[in-house]
Structure formats: C-alpha cells, structure tokens
Symmetry: C2
C-alpha cells in the first residue's frame, strides 16, 4: 500500500508538472530554461513584482520569439497557429502511442476497472505497458487542450500501479480476490491524488468503483490515499503547498433563500447528465457500428483541430480547464485582477478587506458573462464528441467545468439581482445594502457538483470530495441539495450513469450491486439446459473412459463439468474444471504407465471394481472440487442473484432432492436480468 | 430517514440543554429563572461585560443563596456538600429508573447494537420504553458528574428512534433485513449528533457498528446523519452555532520532528486501551459472578460518592468532562484567561495577535500540570469502575479526556523544551526563537484520538471524526500516526476492542466480520450430529403421521426440521420451521375435517397413495421451504463461515452426493470458531 501510494502520488505529480509545462508551451517558451512553465519561468526571474507577474521578460510568446512582436494582427495569427499546431502534434502523438503500444490505455478506464473488480478478467488491462503509455499520453492529451480531464485516467494509472505491486508479492499475485482488494485501495489512491481528497477517494472507491469492500480494504484504501496525497503534496506541483486542486475560502455563509437557485443548478446538472450520457452513448455506438470507428487517428485529429480553432479566441476556453474551474470557484477578493471580478468599487472603500459587500457589476463582468455563455455551449458540445475517443480521457473536469460556468453565471445573476433589488421580499431578510450576501464562487462549486453528480450519479463521495476541496462543513447542505436534485432528475430519465452506460455499451459481464432484482422467477427458469435442449454434459464418478472424456472436452467448450454418481441416480458429487481435466489427462498419458484411451477415470476414493483384463484406471479425485455451490430448483432468482453477487460465483449447480438438474452461470444470470429489464439479452456479449 | 434524523437531532439537543442546566445546578441556581444554566443566566442579564462573564449577580452559588457568603471555609464546605448531594440524587434517580422501567437502558448499547445488526434479536432492546428511559437517565448520569459520556448511549437512542419509525412502515417492520439497514443508518445519525460529525458518523456505522452495509445504506446514513446534525445545529445547544462539540482552530502547522511525541502518545493510547479493556472486563466479570452484582443501586451510589468527593477539589475534574476536553484542545489565544494559558508574556508585545510565539510557562501552567496529572490518574481509575454499571454510560468522552490530559501535558513539555533549548539539534531547524512552533492543544487532540483508538480500535472513522472536529486536513497525518500506533500497540496485547470484549463477556452470538477464519477444518467436522450422537431429527415427505410429528416437536427444541424423501434415500427436499409446523397442525386439527393423530402428513404436490380406510391426509407443502441452504461435507469451514457472514444465515444443511448428513447452525459455527481460537466454546451461551 505504501508503495502504491508513493508511486501513484509521484506519477500524479509528474503528470501535473508536465501538463503545466506543455500547456504553456502552446503559448510560448521560457528563455532561461525551456523546461520551465510560464509561472516557474517568471518566478525564478526575480525581476517581477507581484503585480505584473504575468509579464516577465524571460517568458516569450511565440510571436515575440519569432516575429519580435507581441501585439498586432500578425502576432495574434502566429500565436493562434502555433497553438493549433502544438495541440495537433500532442494529440497525434497521443493517439499513435495508444494505437501502437497499448490499446487499453484509451478511455477513462473506470468502467473497465468496475468490471474487473466485479470478478471479470481483462488480460493486460492493468499491465505495465498500459501504465507507461497511459501516463505519457495522458500528459499529451491534457496539454493538447482537448475537453477532457486527467481524473478518471489517474484512477486507471493508480490501479495499474496496484496491479504491478501486487504481482511482486505471491500472496496477492496468486489470489484473485486479494488482488482485487488491492485494486480497490489503489482506486482510492487515484482519486485521492486527482483531487487531493483522501477521504473522498476512499468513499469514491466504496460507492462507485468497488464491488466487494471488506473493512480491511477500507483501512488500506485510507492509508494508500493518504500516502498518495502526501507524496503529491511534497512534490507540490501546484506551487501552493496545498493538497487540493481548487482551494477556496469563502467569507460569507449561505442563506436559506439561496437553496432555490442551488436546486435549480441541481436540475441543470441532472439534465446535463442525461443529455451527455444519451448523446455520448449514441455517438459511441455510431462509432462502433459505422465506418467512423475505422479512423480513430483522423477522428482525434479532427476533434483536436476543431477544439483548438474554436477555443483560442475565447479566454475561458483557451486556458486549461482546471485553471478555468479554479478561477470560477474563486471568491472575488480585493486584490483579484481577473475580468470576472471587475466590479465597480465604492470610492469610499479605502483599504482591502476580506468582507467586501456586494457591488454592481462592471463592464468586465458583462463581457465575461457573454464569453462564459459561449464557452459553456462549446464545452457541452465538444465534450460529447471527445469522451470515448481512442485516447485517455476523463470527464470529471469537463463536467465540473460545465457546471462551474453555469453556476457562476447564475451566481452573478443572483448577486446583481440582490444588489439592485434589496427591497424584494426574498432579499429583504438577509441582504441589506452594503452586506456581502451572495458568493458567485459558491454557485460555481454547487453547479460543478450538480453536473458531476448528474453524469456519474455519485452522491456521498461527490459531496465529500467537494467538501474536502473547500475544507468547511458550512457548505455541505447546498452541495447535498444540488447533488440529490441532480441525481433525482437524472434518474428520472434513466437509471444508468455514464460508467454503467459504457459498461453496457461494451457488453462487459457486470452484475451491478446497485440494481435490485425483484422479479419472482425461480432458478429453474434460468438454468441450463432449458426444455428441449440436449441434456447437461456431465461426468460420472467411475464409469467413463479417458476417451469419453476427451471427446466430451473436444465437443463442448464449457469451463467445467459436474460429476455424478451415475447417470441414473443423477446424484452430484462434485465439479471438475475443464482446464484441470485436460492437464491431468495429458500428464497421466505422458507419465503414468498403462493409461490408454480405454482406461476408466474415477473420482472416488477407491478404484472401481473392474474386469480382470481392463487397463489401469486413472484416479482424478485430486482435481475434483468436492464442494460445488448448489441451490435447489425452487430457489427464487432474487436469492440466486444475491448469492452470485455476495460470493462472487461464476457458476452454481441446480439440484432437486439431491438430483442434479442443471447449471446457472454468471452469463445466464446477466442474460436473465437483461431479459427481465426488457433489454436484449444478447447485448451481453463478452466481447 | 428524515424523521429519524429529526428526532435524533432533537433528542440530542434536549439532552445537551438539560445536561448543561443540571450540571450547573450542582453549583448554584439562577435567580431570574431557575431553569437557566450558568451561561444562559449570565448572558440574559445584560449587566455583564465580556471580562467578568463568570461573575454575574443573578447566578448565585448555593453558599451565596443559603449563607450569603461566597468565600471562606464554610461556604466551600456547603458548596462541596451540595455538589455531592445533587450528584447522589441524580445517580440514584437514574439507576432506579433503569432498574424499574427499562433494564436494557443501561450500558453504552453499542455491543448490543452490533449484535442486533448481525442478525440476533433482543426483544425490547430498541423499544419505546428503552428510548424514553435512556434519554432521561442519560441526562441524569451525565449531570451527576460520573466519568462517562453520552456518545455511545446516543447511538442507542438513535437506533431506538430508527426502530420506532421503522415499526410504523410495514415495508420495514416486516422485513428484518430492511429494518437492520434502517438501524445502521440510525447509528450513523447517533454519532453524527454526538460529535457533530456527519461523515465520521457514516464511517463509524460502516467500520464499527454495521454488519452488512449495502450502498443504499451509505446514502441513507449520510442523509440521516446530515438531517440530525442540522436539527441539532438549529437547536444550537452549545450557543456557538457550530455543528461541532469541540471546535478548534490552530494557527501553526506541525513539523516532522513532532511525529515522535505523537507516536509516543499513540503508544500511550494503546497501553491505556489494553489496560482499560482488561481491567474493565475483569471487574465486570467479577460483578457478574460474585455477590457484587446483586446490589447495582448501591454500587452506583458508592461510585458516584467517590467520584464527587474526589472530583470537587480539583478544577479539572469538577467541570464537566466535555468542557475539560474543550479547554485542553484549545490553543492559547491572546484573550484566553484559563490557568492553562498563564504564560509569561513578552512585555514588548502590545496588541493581541493570532500568531503568538512560544513563551515560558507561568506559575498557573505549573499548577495546572500537577492538577492535570492527578486528574489523569483519577480518571483512569474511576472510568474502569464506572463503565458497565447499570446506568447508561459511554466511554468516548472519558477516553478522550484521558488522552487529552496526557496529550496536553506532553505538549506543554515539548513546548517548554523547545523554548528553553532552541539550540538543540532537533529544534534548530524548525523552531527559531520568537516563533510559534508547538501547539499544546494539538497534542491534546492527538492524545485523545490515540486513547479512543486504543479502546475502540477504530481507525478511519476515528481520524475522520477528529478531522471534522478541527475542520482541517492539515492535521490528518499526526492523527493517523497516533491512531495507527495506538491500534498496533493495543492489538499486540489482544485483538479485542472494548465492544467485542463486552459482546464476548455477555455471550452474544456475534460472528465478527473482522476475524479471519484460516483453519483447515471442513463442514463435516462441525456439523451435528457428531459421531456417536443420535441421528438428526428429520421429517419424511409422505410417511409420518401427525402424531409422529407432534412427538418429535415435543421431544426436541430445534427451530426446524429437514424434510427428506424417505429415511432410506436420505435425499433432502426442503426445510420446515418448527413454529410453522405447530401452527399448521393446530389450524388443521381445529378447522380441517378428518384430521386425526393418525393422518399422514405429506409435503409433496400430490397426496401419497394410501390404504382405503386410512384417515384424510394433511398437506403441508405450503410451509415447506423448498430452497434450504446446503453445502457439501467437504466444504472448508472458511467458506462456510464466509457464507454465514455474507448471507446472514442461521442454519445450513450438510449433504454428500445429495444425501443429508447433518446441520450446521450459527451457534455451531461460533462454538467452532471459539474452539479454534483456544477459547472455551461453552462461553457462547446466548444468555
């Protein structure tokens, strides 16, 4: 756990630093050392004061470097072109690396990790190559300015670290269950470094990712999350020695009347979640089924080009999405120079104080509102097309950006309304003239929570993550209200969050713990063989020859076979795995003397009594699982589903008064559940 | 959930207010209105300034009221006597109420709730009477000044609320599983109001109390916890509009070198946990087994008398324990007037600032150190005897007090060491003269976490609760370090926390989720009947008469009977509950014609073929459970224990190749686990 935390924290720090540098590389270069980002470059050159820290001589925009001009149309066009070129280069590199070296490195990885934690094995998904390529390409795609975030992929990266370290210790590498516990904890570490929220990470792993979460895992997750968070803090990529990505401090409490706009934001979040999930899934399905899917590189290049061309002119889309969110969350302090804080100050106010009263908006704020509105529409559209391309892409950050933009606009609206209409009945009680009553940054945060909640359907972990970002219990109720509203609204249009939708789209065999199975079907309705189907392929304990078994293995592709006392009595004694059967027969034929095709195979303790001239029998009790899981044919499917979930079974035998009737596999359960939910059972395809 | 949260929050608020008033009643009375506590009395009389808010004319000590004297020996003695008298009165009332009306209201309730959530039913334990009496007596015992807290009992109170509300809705009252989910959420609400820590409450319920915690419960718990916390806040019993019991704000970060004393505090916490658990269990066992247990009222009176007599002279034991903790946690600001903050101020420092440098300790601090040391010893001893008496008693607060006292003393020690030895190598790097480097209040908090962790063995929830108290992520590493050290040290001396120890002591059938069962025994070693025992009592599907069954029911006391095809084939078809059998036979004899003692009972679909003159047979398929849970005799006990835990079974049938061999009940599993852990299996007695 320590190692996982350390590695995940280090990788996150390296990613942050590299993204910082490469994002700035799109705009210019540092003359003193080209590997410095804009901020580092200006901080190390000691000439700058706090005021003009953005304009230091060592940092040269491309136009300054190549044309010795920093203003004017030609400089603007050159900068614009360089921006687009860099973005295209980064995106091309990323998609090529993913295609050539590690096809599993694309996407956010969370749907696949959920599936893996539910017991399905996707070989190589958490391998070393995936880890390496995902880390590198994540830096590239985030720097390219595409509308995606690094949070989901960081969870995947952390899980790769977990898988890597657990393969070093035989205790974990040999036991799938224990390995999955390690992965759950690693997922927590991933979220922890993504947001600097260790407790939120643990709850995210518990609520969203993990399947089986024993107490030991809780404790481990917490440890891994903390180690990762503190490793990240000691690398200090944000330069503010904070754990947190968006650190905010608000100075005013919220008022009951503000709950109304907060709930409105929740509704917006829910609608956005539904819209995004539907459109994104429709687009991804089209990509899967039409010719579009054959040109992933071209697709990425096209989307990057559109993103870069549209994004550059608008300052709110040009800057990196996390900077944007950070700016939107911020309360306008006295020293704030951003356009969003261009309020008309009271000339009587002399010294900067923390508790600034509400002020009328200046020209800058109105410009910002227009630009934000355009940026919002652009983000909404482009994110739908971006998520799901063959590059690493998370959607926490874009979702939060959408919410934060909407929230900030609502917040400024409410603020101006309250300023100009102190006498309205809803404002009269809590917003006297000269008081600081509305914090637009808080609205941005609530909006971000609502949109993230609408897309992922998280609740508790979402609130906790946001609460760790602000570090105060004060704002938990607005966040809760928005998160719950958003979940309700989104659930009204469809129960699936984006991750479940992608699991379905890809047809992973995932048995959701959250679905309740309430139908009144019985095990007998689900088990194979159905009526009219050929009988179950079984072995008998002491009457089949090696050849019989070999034929059976050749003709079927089942993972294993029930072993009966005899075909007449149908009484079950155990279950034999196909793999082990093949191995045992192969070994016996090579090493044991007298084993021929006619040899009787027996699973009993004692060899059966055979005629004198028969060949030497083959004892296979060793490979027989003597405790196969059984239910009776009258067991309600509700119970069966429960057993499959809680015990993580792959198959279960069905008996009636001790006689074997059939078998239920996990696939059968999933198909049955799909059927009961009026979905096409064949969509669960295990592709 | 809303209702539970509202009721739990309201009750907690009422309890807080009542405790406040009654604790002050021991010292004096408010002349303007006798139901005002000291603070309320002085705040409402507007004459007082901030400085002498403790001395207002309306609040009269008993000596002032009765003797018109506030100083002098006779006044002191009178106050002392009144203090003892009130304490004895409260304690006597409490223990009498518990004895007469609700014997289940005693203790902390957490061990019992853990047992109930694991599937055992203790009738009346969560009843309305228990709720009422526990609330009232909780106020009485906390006010009486005994060394106990209200946190554990508040969890019990919240669970009673949960039980009450779930009995109103048939969805929950009829389904034990659903009711338990509600109780889990109610437990979270309890902790939430106890500490004002909603997230900590949810994690406490998850880590410590609950047995089965599905995701839906997480969400519900969070909701209930929040509602409860905000109800409490709107009642505002602490008068500071904070959610939190001990609100602290520290101004300095911690330094790496301080980890050493923090870990030392962790070791102290672990040792205290072990000492407390061992001594308390030994004392409780003695109470159970000797004549001592026959005089619970006398015991309470005696302990109260000793507590009151010893506590009054020392200001740190005289004040209520939560006030003490609050004072110990506090950082010494400039305006602080407490004895603990009596430092020698630098005469050059003129105005009060937040960032006060380390100062040499004054006389007051040295006096306080002595008094704290004495108070610490007294608390340690008296708490051992208090917890487990026949009154409601929680041990969160006393444990935290012990840790806070030890922590504060260590903190002041380190602070003075750092002040006087700036040049020592360990201080040189981070503690320059004139800097504020050591915060003794933080040490108190770390010590409190360590001691609480040592006693309860909580980890994550403990850290989160403490973190919610301070409201800053900054101090999570010291808290973690102390909590982990404390758990390790305490676990080295014995795996059981105080709650598990009490569960064991009382012999509740509790299957701990945390224990791993690693022995290599098989189901066949555990099942009944053992070798040499009479065969299993079974029914056959169509050959036993009503009389046979009635005899069987009379002669045995099993909860149910397996039903076989016939005694020869031994093939299992189902399981019939004793209770339902009795009811069905009774009904049939009364209402169905032709049912006599000789009637054949059958469980099959079709009646068996009977001789012509035989009486009318009785069909009982309706009461037959057709899907009893079975395992084979070769199933490892590790798997069986896992199944019992995860599926919450009470019994499980054992078969071999379809034939019934025996039965394993939860009691058998518990006995076997005790045996494997070298404990006396008969200690699990279900008394």
């Amino acid at each position: 756990m320590l190692l996982i935390g350390l590695l995940a924290g280090t990788l996150a720090g390296v990613i942050d630093l590299a993204v910082d540098w490469m994002t700035d590389l799109k705009e210019g270069v540092c003359l003193s050392a080209f590997w410095y980002s804009h901020e580092q470059c200006c901080w190390t050159s000691n000439e700058t004061t706090f005021e003009d820290r953005d304009k230091c001589p060592l940092w040269q925009k491309w136009s300054e470097l190549l044309l010795s001009q920093s203003e004017g149309a030609s400089a603007y066009i050159l900068n614009y072109l360089m921006y687009i070129l860099w973005a295209l280069l980064f995106a091309f590199l990323a998609v090529s690396l993913v295609r050539v070296f590690a096809p599993y490195a694309c996407g956010s990885g969370i749907p696949e990790i959920k599936t893996i934690l539910s017991g399905f094995i996707i070989r190589g998904y958490l391998g070393k190559w995936t880890l390496l390529i995902k880390t590198v390409t994540l830096v590239l795609v985030v720097s390219s300015g595409l509308s995606l975030g690094k949070e989901g992929p960081l969870v995947h990266v952390a899980c790769c670290c977990g898988n890597f370290f657990s393969s070093l210790f035989s205790k974990y590498s040999k036991n799938e269950g224990k390995r999955r516990e390690v992965l759950s904890a690693a997922a927590a570490a991933g979220v922890s470094v993504a947001f600097g929220a260790p407790i939120g990470g643990v709850l995210f792993s518990l609520e969203e990712v993990s399947y089986y979460f024993p107490l030991k895992t809780l404790w481990r997750s917490f440890f891994a999350a903390l180690v990762a968070a503190f490793t990240l803090r000691s690398i200090n990529p944000f330069g503010n020695s904070r754990l947190v990505l968006f650190y905010v401090e608000y100075h005013t409490p919220w008022y009951m009347a503000e709950l109304f706009p907060f709930i409105l934001l929740g509704v917006f979040g829910g609608l956005w979640g539904t819209l995004f999930t539907r459109c994104n899934i429709a687009w991804c399905r089209r990509r899967k089924t039409t010719r579009l899917g054959r040109y992933p590189v071209l697709e990425v290049i096209a989307v990057t080009a559109v993103t870069a061309i549209v994004a550059y002119p608008n300052p709110y889309t040009r800057q990196s999405t996390s900077e944007l969110i950070s700016e939107l969350f911020n309360d306008c302090g006295a020293l704030e120079s951003s356009q969003l804080c261009d309020y008309i100050n009271d000339p009587n106010m002399t010294r900067p104080v923390d508790d600034i009263p509400d002020r009328p908006a200046g020209v800058g704020v109105y410009t910002a509102m227009w630009q934000l509105a355009l940026a919002l529409i652009f983000k909404i559209v482009i994110t739908i097309f971006t998520f799901g391309m063959k590059i690493p892409s998370g959607l926490f950050i874009p979702s939060m950006a959408v919410g934060a933009m909407a929230g900030r606009m609502v917040g400024i609206g409410v603020e101006q309304l309250a300023y100009h209409h102190h006498d309205w009945i809803i404002f009269r009680n809590w917003c006297r003239p000269g008081a600081d009553c509305v914090t637009p940054g808080l609205y941005a945060m609530v909006g971000a929570a609502a949109c993230l909640g609408g897309v992922t359907r998280m609740t508790v972990s979402l609130v906790v993550i946001m609460f760790e970002l602000t570090g105060g219990l004060e704002y938990i109720v607005p966040l809760m209200a928005a998160a719950v509203t958003s979940k309700w609204v989104a659930d009204a249009f469809g129960k699936e969050g984006i991750y479940e939708a992608h699991i379905h789209l890809n047809g992973y065999p995932f048995l959701d713990v959250k679905d309740e199975f309430t139908h009144r079907t019985l095990a007998t309705d689900v088990m194979r063989p159905r009526r009219g189907e050929p009988p179950l392929s079984v072995l008998t304990q002491d009457s089949m020859t090696v050849e019989d078994v070999e034929t059976l293995i050749k003709e079927t592709d089942y993972n294993g076979f029930p072993v009966l006392v005899s075909r007449d009595s149908e009484r079950l004694i155990g279950f034999a795995q196909r793999r082990e059967l093949i191995l045992a027969i192969k070994n016996a034929r090579q090493r044991q003397e007298g084993i021929v095709s006619n040899s009787i195979m027996y699973f009993t303790e004692e060899p059966p009594e055979l005629p004198a001239n028969s060949p030497h029998p083959l004892k296979l009790r060793r490979i027989l699982n003597l405790s196969p899981f059984t239910v009776t044919d009258h067991t309600p499917m509700e119970t069966v589903v429960d057993i499959f979930r809680k015990l993580g079974l792959r198959q279960c035998l069905v008996t009636r008064s001790g006689r074997l009737l059939g078998i239920i596999t996990k696939k059968d359960v999933l198909r049955h559940m799909a059927q009961m939910a009026n979905q096409d059972p064949e969509s669960i395809m295990f592709n």
